[in-house]
């Protein structure tokens, strides 16, 4: 098992994702126990990224289902291709070929596979990323639960479709709505917090090519300080990386060289007006001084 974990760590690191021991254990465990993994945490801490990385290291297709309020079976699971069916009927009529039987009409030819159905009918097991599951309605959640426990989908016209392969399932949630106990229970759980200084530094060095160690350290120190402020939306790792990229474009060697550039690029980190108002230039200058 230790060997499996080590190789997993290596592969995850090669893919450019810095994961701690706890997350690696969860990832290994979901593979081992065939259970979905529910990732929670604030926006921008790299939840969605985990799904992508997983697809990359296992070399499996990534199938992503973005949830939103009002998501229904027709967008998430399957839909009949009505136009095509209709055309087929007309074509048969015109060609006098005796029409289509019902079986022909409701066959896989006319079935549009949406992410959930697609993920269980791949020949090779896929990685299914169900993003922001908390945005979907309760009904959909219940449906999802059924799919995740049985890995089969029933289509009234066609019968039950059993999974040809069991996908690795990652669910992410921002906590906009409480998820049902049943769904939580079905899943392994991992909470991703904001990274500490060391981890974030490693992430920046891994993800921002060409950045100097000095600037990276300053950037991370600054962002860490910024997270201690009373902000409405704390900057996530994604924001840190955006900001690092922005500063690289500006050819900044050190934050202290040009504090005004820091203020000017703050839009990469702070995404609401309230937060920008709450951080006047003097405060930023002070944080820059502390960070560099």
């Amino acid at each position: 098992m230790q060997a499996a974990l080590d190789s997993l760590r290596q592969r995850v690191a090669d893919a450019g994702y810095i994961a701690d021991q706890a997350l690696l254990t969860s990832l290994w465990l979901m593979h081992e126990l065939d259970r979905p993994l529910l990732l929670e945490g604030d926006a921008g801490v790299g939840k969605t990224e985990v799904g992508k990385i997983l697809a990359e290291i296992y070399e499996r297709p990534l199938i992503r289902l973005q949830c939103y309020e009002g998501l229904d079976v027709n967008t998430a699971v399957y839909e009949w291709n009505y136009q095509r069916q209709l055309l087929a009927i007309r074509r048969q009529e015109i060609l006098h070929e005796g029409g289509l039987s019902e079986e022909q009409l409701f066959s896989e030819t006319y079935l549009l596979k949406r992410p959930l159905l697609q993920s269980i009918s791949e020949a090779q097991p896929a990685v299914l990323l169900i993003d922001e599951v908390d945005r979907a309605d309760e009904e959909f959640e219940a449906y999802l639960l059924e799919v995740l426990s049985d890995f089969q989908i029933s289509i009234p016209e066609l019968g039950t479709i059993k999974a040809s392969s069991i996908p690795l399932v990652i669910l992410t949630s921002n906590g906009t709505r409480e998820l049902s106990d049943a769904l939580r229970r079905r899943c392994l759980y991992h909470y991703i917090d904001y990274p500490d200084y060391d981890k974030e530094l490693r992430i920046v060095l891994a993800r921002a090519p060409g950045i100097s160690a000095n600037l990276a350290a300053q950037i991370v120190a600054f962002v860490q300080k910024l997270r201690e402020q009373d902000l409405r939306k704390l900057p996530g790792v994604a924001e840190t990386l955006d900001w690092a990229a922005a500063l690289l474009k500006l050819d900044l060697k050190s934050l202290g060289d040009n504090p005004d550039a820091v203020v000017a690029t703050l839009g990469c980190l702070l995404k609401t007006r309230e937060d920008i108002d709450a951080m006047p230039a003097e405060v930023i200058h002070r944080l820059v001084a502390k960070a560099s």
Binding site: M1, Q21, Y82, G175, R184, Y189
Partner: protein, 392 residues
């Protein structure tokens, strides 16, 4: 009853220890069922159990299901594996928290430690609702506690479990409301466009009709909670209920008032319990004093009503109506709220008592303006709120 050795070894003893740990976790309100127990054995079989850290991380992923669980798992794990006699732990007591009258006062002094703690399982056990889950429906123990007067809870443990239930209740109300709407609206109007589209597959015969439904909408709730001294017995409970409401109903908001109004909606939405406790401690200074309902409502009308209230808003005031303010002023402010909102509900925790009749000047002034004046002295009466919210 072997003392748990510091070094774990695979074998029958480990199986027993893991089973004990599952039970231990379940008793601490972790979502651990048979499947998790079985999986924990599978986990132990496939890892090197002498590496305790590995076991801890694996079990953590397996047994946690909320951020709150995540935060408290490590302490629980240590408590079980590091203690000498694992099994005696289930009898550990919550250690009677101070009497409830002073609970709020205490919390404002001690950083509201108790306020948003997940109740310890022992609390739930002693309250007779070991599942702590109202939506199970079958738990008769939960029912018995749901009809108990909030005022008659004899110990801290019962109070905690009641608070937990109150928070969950809010979620259930939303679910039942949605269910009700769905049934009621079945087939309101035929949607021609989609019916025509659906008929294509039958060669133009309208075999299946499509119906147009109104977009599913839940009411926006605005809670105004009285946190003055006369209400201090109930304050926690209603704050927990408010947290549940805010989580379940989009666009809802909450305020607390005593002699002045405090906006607590943003704070209460804080997902991390630890941060929530810190924030609540900051804003709850000075609670537990007198009441000025009229002044507080005036502040609400002036600063918030315009942005918050709308045609879908239901304003719920939770107060016992003991007020030193001016009745005429109160009725003026209530009128203003009423004009801006769909419905005005006043929940009074005293109303459920025998031999209580609303007689204070303040209540008398308010009564003609209130759409619904209802008791809120136990969970059943809180649950009955659903009826008042339906049909909006």
């Amino acid at each position: 009853m072997n003392p748990a050795p510091t070094e774990l070894q695979p074998g029958p003893q480990l199986v027993a220890q893991l089973t004990g740990f599952s039970r231990f976790a379940r008793a601490r309100n972790f979502n651990v069922g048979i499947q998790e127990s079985v999986d924990s054995q599978r986990l132990a079989a496939s890892i090197d159990v002498t590496d305790r850290r590995q076991l801890q991380l694996g079990l953590k992923a397996l047994m946690c299901s909320t951020p709150g669980d995540w935060e408290r798992f490590d302490a629980m794990f240590d408590a079980y594996w590091k203690r000498d006699q694992p099994r005696h732990s289930t009898q550990a007591s919550i250690g009677g928290k101070a009497p409830r009258q002073s609970a709020l006062a205490q919390s404002s002094q001690h950083g509201s430690d108790a306020l948003f703690d997940v109740p310890d399982a022992d609390a739930l056990d002693s309250a007779g609702a070991s599942d702590g889950n109202l939506s199970d429906g079958g738990a008769s123990a939960a029912e018995s506690i749901s009809s108990r007067d909030f005022d008659q809870l004899s110990n801290a443990a019962e109070l905690r479990s009641m608070e937990e239930l109150a928070e969950r209740l809010a979620k259930r109300i939303r679910q039942r409301l949605l269910r009700r709407q769905r049934i009621a609206r079945r087939g309101e109007r035929i949607d021609m466009r989609s019916t025509a589209r659906a008929s294509l597959r039958y060669g133009g015969l309208p075999m299946s009709l499509s119906f147009r439904k109104r977009r599913k909408q839940t009411p926006k709730l605005v809670l105004l909670l009285d946190v003055s001294r006369s209400m201090s017995v109930y304050s926690y409970l209603f704050l927990r209920f408010a947290r549940g409401i805010l989580g379940a109903f989009k666009g809802s908001d909450a305020f607390a008032f005593h002699t002045r109004l405090v906006h607590i909606g943003e704070t209460m939405r804080e997902p991390s319990r630890r941060k929530l406790r810190e924030k609540m401690a900051m804003i709850s200074a000075g609670w537990d004093g007198g009441t000025r309902i009229d002044k507080s409502l005036e502040a609400f009308n002036r600063h918030y009503a315009r942005n918050i209230l709308g045609s879908r808003s239901i304003v719920i005031i939770v107060s016992d109506g003991y007020d030193t303010g001016e009745p005429a002023e109160l009725s003026k402010q209530l009128q203003r709220i009423k004009r801006r909102s769909r419905r005005l509900i006043w929940l009074n925790p005293l109303l459920g008592r025998e031999n209580y009749t609303p007689s204070t000047k303040c209540i008398m002034a308010a009564l003609p303006l209130i759409d619904i004046f209802a008791p809120a002295h136990n969970l059943e009466s809180l649950g009955a709120l659903e009826q008042h919210l339906a049909g909006i």
